[in-house]
């Protein structure tokens, strides 16, 4: 019993203190991984904020974006052209989704819309594989996946690039939402569809814009994840890792997605490296969810989520 307590409370802390360089590596690795999750979570947040839909298909959109980009590059298109075409494709996809899925289901309950996005998930999975094939593809955007050592701590170039990209993206989106007219319109729509309609905000256009923006975020996430682990089917499963980030940060908050990502990333890695060996390892998956759950018990709408005002 005493050993158990020692193993859980004292041992790992001692480990951490006696190896500060390694601890720093784990923390940095966690931060980087967390930011990668945030990239995916951002797409969720965008769509939820503006259309109230929990887009389960975000993971598949990341995969689809990456597949399109790599597929075009394999056929000889230079990077910039491929990027532009992919953005156009994601825009067209957003348009199609709005027309076929969202418009007929306007004003339905959240869970119905959620189910529709699951249906979309299946559809895009099959479609992506049909068009681009199921082989693993290498994504080369010119960022080497090597590490360099600074102050005894190993830092990975690819992760560093991803972190910087995420920061830029978030800053861009914050400015977009706070300072532009469309951003304000998006926030209005997120608050109340009908009220927004009644003051003249074109709902359908807004939704196309939002889903395209989410598509753009999906492209960035796809590039980063694809460069890290190759473009193949399992990329869509990243969405499951982004969910704890969402619930920790709150479904409707962009800074929440980032902060949540960082917390989940660091927490996950620390748990796996220092407490994992005690229980045989592979605790990352559920630990992220339990961590998010623990935060939720204190703040039921997530750290930065909007407090839902309930009326009787």
């Amino acid at each position: 019993m005493l050993e158990l307590l020692y193993g859980v409370f004292v041992g790992p802390v001692k480990d951490m203190v006696t190896g500060p360089a390694f601890l720093a590596e784990v923390v940095i690795g966690g931060l980087a991984a967390g930011l990668m999750y945030s990239l995916v979570a951002l797409g969720f947040v965008l769509i939820y904020k503006a259309s109230g839909v929990f887009n389960f298909a975000q993971g598949v959109m990341v995969l689809f974006a990456a597949l399109t980009l790599v597929g075009l590059m394999e056929r000889g298109a230079p990077l910039v052209l491929a990027l532009l075409v992919t953005m156009a494709v994601m825009g067209a996809l957003a348009f199609a989704i709005e027309r076929v899925v969202l418009r007929p289901l306007v004003n339905q309950e959240q869970i119905i819309l959620f189910m529709a996005t699951i249906g979309l998930n299946f559809f895009l999975e099959g479609f992506g594989e049909l068009v681009w094939g199921s082989n693993v593809k290498k994504l080369d955007v010119g960022i080497p996946d090597s590490s360099f050592v600074v102050w005894g701590v190993q830092v990975n170039r690819l992760e560093l690039t991803a972190a910087i990209t995420a920061a830029v993206l978030v800053a861009g989106m914050a400015i977009f939402f706070q300072r532009t007219r469309i951003g304000r319109a998006l926030r209005a729509v997120a608050d109340d569809h009908e009220a927004a309609l009644s003051i003249g905000i074109p709902l359908n256009t807004i939704w196309v814009v939002v889903w395209s923006a989410a598509g753009l975020v999906a492209i960035v996430a796809g590039i980063m994840w694809g460069a890290k682990s190759g473009v193949q089917f399992s990329l869509s499963l990243i969405a499951l890792k982004a969910l704890p980030v969402l619930i920790l940060g709150g479904f409707t908050s962009v800074p929440g997605a980032i902060v949540g990502g960082l917390i989940i990333g660091v927490g996950e890695k620390l748990a796996e490296v220092y407490w994992g060996p005690l229980v045989g390892g592979a605790i990352e998956n559920w630990f992220a969810y339990v961590l998010a759950l623990a935060f939720l018990l204190v703040r039921p709408q997530g750290l930065f989520g909007e407090r839902i005002i309930e009326r009787v």
Partner: protein, 441 residues
Amino acid sequence: MTLRRVMIALLAVIVIAVPAAGTVSAQAKEMFVPSTVYRTGPYAPSGTPFANGLWDYLTMLNERDGGVNGVRLVVEECETQYDTKQGVECYERLKGKNGGAMVFNPLSTGITYQLIPKAGVDKIVIHSMGYGMTAASDGRWFPWVFTFPTTYWSQASSVIRYIGQQEGGLDKLKGKKIVHIYHNSPYGKEANPTLEELSHKYGFELTLLAVDHPGQEQKATWLQVRRINPAWVYMSGWGVMNQVAVKEAAAINFPMDHFIGNWWSASEADVIPAGDGAKGYKGATFHAPGANFKVHADIVKFVYDKGKNIGPKDKIGEALYNRGVVNAMYMTEAFRTAMAKYGNKPLTTEQVRWGYEHLSLTEARLDQIGLKGFTHPVKVSCEDHEGSGPVLIQQWDGKKWNVVSDWIQPMKEVVRPKLEAAAVEEGKKLGYTMRDCSKEN
């Protein structure tokens, strides 16, 4: 409103059409071989070349020789997506079709576990070539399940023997650190008991690191590897886990020639995404890589030139393509062995089982088929459905796999007793009784 009517009509069609599923038609002078594959889903990069290899070899036999001793083979693929439920559904749908399936190659440890109890009842041979369940290699308890040419436990012991060779002797392993990274599923865990026993025997420090399905995110695992700083890393991975592991190993600058993957972790799909970083990565295998064998020339001539192929021509000779070829080869040689006794006609499944159990593949025979030096001779017996085969170590040089070792024997004295004990345990669970091999021929 009309959309609603369309929907209702569609539902009605589904309800009526489903019962029409699963019709049977038997043909004369043919044997039915279902091929469970995964050409879609997360494991497709590994499943597709295997399926192509199997298909190509069997089609080549049909085209070149008119089948096995004049009996054509009817091959039908069924997609499982490496999912157990779909695998069982494929089995149920195809086991009685076309006069009955001769043999099943589940291509998945999970599906194999499901089918093992059914094999004895339905009387269909299950050939789990080099995958689970290892305990079923004792033919006295599991007459209908075959695992040759070798199993995970034997492979683990062979890899340790190889590492010992590289270090200058098995006694030099004392005090060295070896890490086993494994897929957190029954498949990945198979090698662990054997590795633990060997670590006690030879005194090396073994660390077991589990990676959860699908294995997309392995940062924490490789941080731990960096901290432990082992001399060697062995991996039992599958699917995307493999390539992520190779990439992460390259990213932390781990010496790739001290990283060995098992025979499902060493294929082209695992190393190409990592690019140059994967150079030097080693893997275990039980057949040679490459397309330089007479069989491949025949496949090109009789299958690709006639347009009967499914996969692309430039992927012939890949590691997993050859795995499919070897699987098909064992199957047809077993058929031939049975036909030598029972005659050149479509066999019953009992006869096929006899053929599998008495398979004796020699160097001379391999030469005859056009696979000289491709794989090791195999001898299956009533007690030994494993064949206790040796493995080769291959290494990736950036463009292709090259064999870098001789045939490395497994440590039979360690593996066989454990295997027999496990067979007793698993057999009793299913309510089996042990056969007496001396009473049969």
